[in-house]
Amino acid sequence: MKRSLLLLAVLLLSVPALAQEQVLQISGANFRPVPMAVAPPSSAGAEAAAKSFDEALRFDLAVLGIFQMLDPKGFLADANEGLDASAIRFSRWSDVGAESLVKTVVSQQGETLKVEARVYDVGSAKQVQRFVEEGHVNTPRRLAHRVADAIYTHYTREPGPFSTGRITYTRQNGRNRSVWVADWDGSHAQVAASSGLDILPDLSIDGTVAFTSYRSGNPSLWILPKGGKAQRISNGSRTTTGAAWSPDGKRIAYAQAKGEGTQIFVANADGSGAQQITDTAAFINTSPAWSPDGKRIAFVSNRFGNPQIFVMNADGSGVQRLTYQGKYNQTPAWSPRGDTIAFTARDERNAFDVFLIDVGTRKVTRLTQGQGNNEEPTFSPNGRLVMFTSTRSGSSQLWVSTLDGNTQHRLPMKAGVYLAPAWSRVR
């Protein structure tokens, strides 16, 4: 009796289960960039600034690779369409394929440039974000970087790469090489060192530039504090190259010739307390690059015959070889996200290209291929972009790429030969 009751209960309970609806599961979406229209800014008496702002904003958003920037030539909306949702004819924007619309107003009050930017979702005809930025009238591109970062953060919930960092690089002029510091896109460039041969710069979080200079004969290490005077921090009798600031800016790693080989040293920011952390007498150890937590250092060593990328703890212990593919791997740069190291490698066709290696899995992926020589990678402060030099358009220029290599742009800089970029977060 009990058993049949139990059976009945089971049957009754299973009836609703049978009647329960089937939920269709759908996944495996195709990912695609968001079609974005950036309407030309409306400007009252600040046309030139508005133009610079517009160019910089478009460029920033384009290099991110997550937006498909629509050509303003195809826009159907009225050029004087207002900023408010009520004034916008969204159908005209959806007709050109836009899913996201950015509208801006640039205005000038005395020495102050003010930008109001609004982001709209075209499908729902709703405003999703509004930003107001102010700055000096001569810095429209900087305002654009801040707006671009805000838009990036709105969509991805991650910090943007543009307004928090600066770049330093070497510029070649005839036989001379000088060190420059600029905003991420090469604008607001200022010379930091130009005494003959000044090369291989790096920028610390507090804006101090470290570089290698031949000004006193032997290549030695110099630093230029922000607003200060250049000073040598290495022993002039030994060849010293390739300085790298630790992420907190308190230590500096560099390579110094010693005996038959070259060893890596770590010193305080002023060059004091130098400690040798590699010791392979007959071999070259060079190009140190700090991990974002400051606990490890990637470097190049030829201890197994040809240059390969290695990692070690910041005190020199726990050395591990990272790259096994390719016979000429150099210039490592550690992503601020910690998971990836970018490096230059010469492939079997003798072309120099930029590669990424996953520090955990050691999987190597290629960023550039078949377009000139591409070298000396450096990561954006948020680790989502890689800047490098490329000869694809003739002389060596600075280029920026997304991590998948699908979106690559040349920085809008004056003609010239640019080398060894380093992109750092600066307070």
Binding site: E21, Q25, A29, T365
Partner: protein
């Protein structure tokens, strides 16, 4: 036993012969063999050749040498870009008083260079020219392409070959629905890697008898409105769907079907 006389040896003497029996047997055997051959040839079916079937083309290629493991990786060549999606602009409303020739919806307007400009067509307010006209043309192509039955959706690999059971037909319909939506399901690159791991949205769609979308509502939103919008957009872009089988019509019209989307 009688002794043979010399006459018996004479070649002129007629003798009893068995040749006729052999001839008869031979003829009968031949007839049997020929008959059997004829019968067998009738039994064997002629191979059916479907001239409409797509030929399978196979080309022989030399096997590539595996890439040396010590070499650096090379990038795969990019696949050709997907065809650009062209959205059909909304038809412009035309005043009833103006006699304007209304083109058939399925007709494809083909611009003919020989067409004489005279008599000049009445300029209609909002008449499409240039880009808009080109868009119309592409849209018409799109429509005709959509109307064609999709071969890939015919049956499922693990489906019932006869498909005569109502339940199976229902499941097959849902499978087809899923496949149709999936083809239009795209998400923005702006979704962070982290979010791609956990985002989920539950929606419910109601489908009419002819496969038209009656309603699509978000039952349980994800934490990201971009994701929710992309999911709803995928459903709307897919409509109209294939008409549902008869036994599902009432259910799909009244209650609809829930769908859970993940990235």
């Amino acid at each position: 036993m009688t002794a043979l006389s010399p006459i018996d040896y004479s070649l002129l003497q007629p003798r009893k012969s068995r040749i006729s029996a052999f001839v008869v047997i031979s003829v009968v055997l031949h007839v049997v063999v020929a008959g059997a051959g004829l019968w067998l040839s009738k039994q064997e079916r002629t191979p059916r050749i479907d001239l409409d079937a797509k030929p399978i083309k196979a080309s022989l290629v030399r096997l590539g040498k595996e890439r040396d493991e010590t070499f650096l990786p090379r990038k795969e060549p990019k696949p050709p870009p997907p065809p650009k999606e062209v959205k059909a602009p909304e038809p412009t409303p035309v005043a009833a008083t103006e006699p304007v020739p209304v083109p058939k919806p399925a007709a494809i307007p083909i611009p003919t260079p020989e067409a004489k400009p005279e008599p000049a067509p009445q300029p209609v307010k909002g008449e499409k020219t240039g880009e808009a006209r080109r868009n119309d043309l592409f849209a018409a192509f799109d429509r005709t392409a959509e109307a064609a039955p999709d071969e890939e959706l015919e049956g499922a690999a693990d489906g019932d070959p006869l498909g005569d059971s109502a339940v199976q037909e229902g499941e097959r319909y849902y499978g087809m629905l899923t496949a149709q939506i999936k083809r239009n399901y795209s998400l923005p690159d702006t979704l962070s890697e982290q979010e791609r791991l956990y985002l989920k949205a539950l929606i419910r769609i109601k489908i009419g008898r002819a496969g038209q979308l009656l309603d699509a509502t978000l039952v349980k939103a994800s934490e990201n409105p971009q994701f929710d919008n992309a999911v709803l957009a995928a459903v709307k872009r897919t409509a109209p769907f294939s008409p549902p089988p008869e036994h599902l019509v009432a259910q799909l019209e009244d209650r609809g079907v829930p769908m859970e989307f993940g990235p």
